[in-house]
Symmetry: C2
Subunit: 160 residues, 2 copies
DNA sequence: TTGTGTGCAAAAGCTTTGCATGTTG
DNA sequence: CAACATGCAAAGCTTTTGCACACAA
């Protein structure tokens, strides 16, 4: 199994190549944000990442966080989600199998699952409706039975 | 086949019963909004509905539009979606089969489709992951092949 | 050196809230 | 007539933009 550090090295190389290929600059902020994202194992929003960076004493701005997130999404190192709220959530994606999400509407807990039938549906519908399908989003919403920390809401955000 | 008017009468009755059951008031605004929604056949956002009502010379406020939309969603007469943007889209849902969406990322066109495998996935995952699943959202994103009015963006919003 | 990227703060866009007024039950 | 709903405008939140400065190439 790969160590976290080796994964981070790999994604930095990928990002570096992507920046180079597109004539974009390799700024320390961009790599710092990538690194912080790959240190996390959860779903997070832009503000949480920004605050997290601030707490680590990085000098970054929200604008750069948003800008870099978009770059990372465009080169498939990060995935962007909307779990029913007007708030984009992100997660690292390199080295992880494609998966979908199950969200608890009470406590905000997010579980992941894979199902090959999704791919079949994509293929069939793309064919049938004459679309070239590039990606999808499948979220199942419900309530986790048993231990559900009802009131907390979303994965405990860090405070500044 | 039911006429549009008879459908509108049915949903008004359902809404009326829902309001009654929950001790909420039957205001003319609420029914006017319901009626306007059921006159439409597209996916729309709150602002478009508000502007549409204004154009019809109704005297309503955004607050009431948002409030009523939420009421209608809660009694299943309207469905709320997020098609990748930070903008809620709505559609009437009474008398329509459950369906999912295929969105063109170029022109914003929205197609609908049904696939029984979704239900199977919901059942299986709910069981497997110990969730009581209440609803879901499946969006396929891609580009419509051939005639795609590339630049227009979203279903042409009406102007005030 | 040159133009892209950054930080900062202000603006923008969608949604919610506060308050005085109106209206339902 | 009392409580709830409404209209209006302001506030809230997430995200984007403008601008002067910094720095990668």
């Amino acid at each position: 199994m790969k160590t976290e550090d080796s994964v981070i090295q790999e994604v930095k190389n990928i990002f570096s190549a992507h920046l180079e290929k597109n004539g974009l600059r390799k700024t320390p902020e961009r790599f710092a944000i990538l690194q912080e994202i790959y240190h996390r194992n959860d779903h997070f929003d832009a503000e949480a990442l920004y605050i997290h960076m601030k707490n680590q004493n990085y000098r970054v701005s929200r604008a750069t966080v948003y800008n870099t997130l978009e770059l990372l999404v465009s080169c498939d190192l990060v995935k962007k989600h909307q779990f029913g709220k007007n708030l984009a959530q992100y997660e690292k994606s390199y080295g992880f199998k494609q998966h979908d999400h199950l969200i608890c509407v009470d406590c905000g807990k997010v579980l992941e699952f894979c199902d090959p039938r999704i791919q079949q549906i994509k293929d069939m519908m793309g064919d049938l409706l004459k679309f070239r399908i590039t990606h999808h989003s499948l979220n199942l919403y419900g309530k986790c039975e048993g231990a559900c920390p009802r009131t907390s809401g979303k994965d405990a955000p860090e405070s500044l």
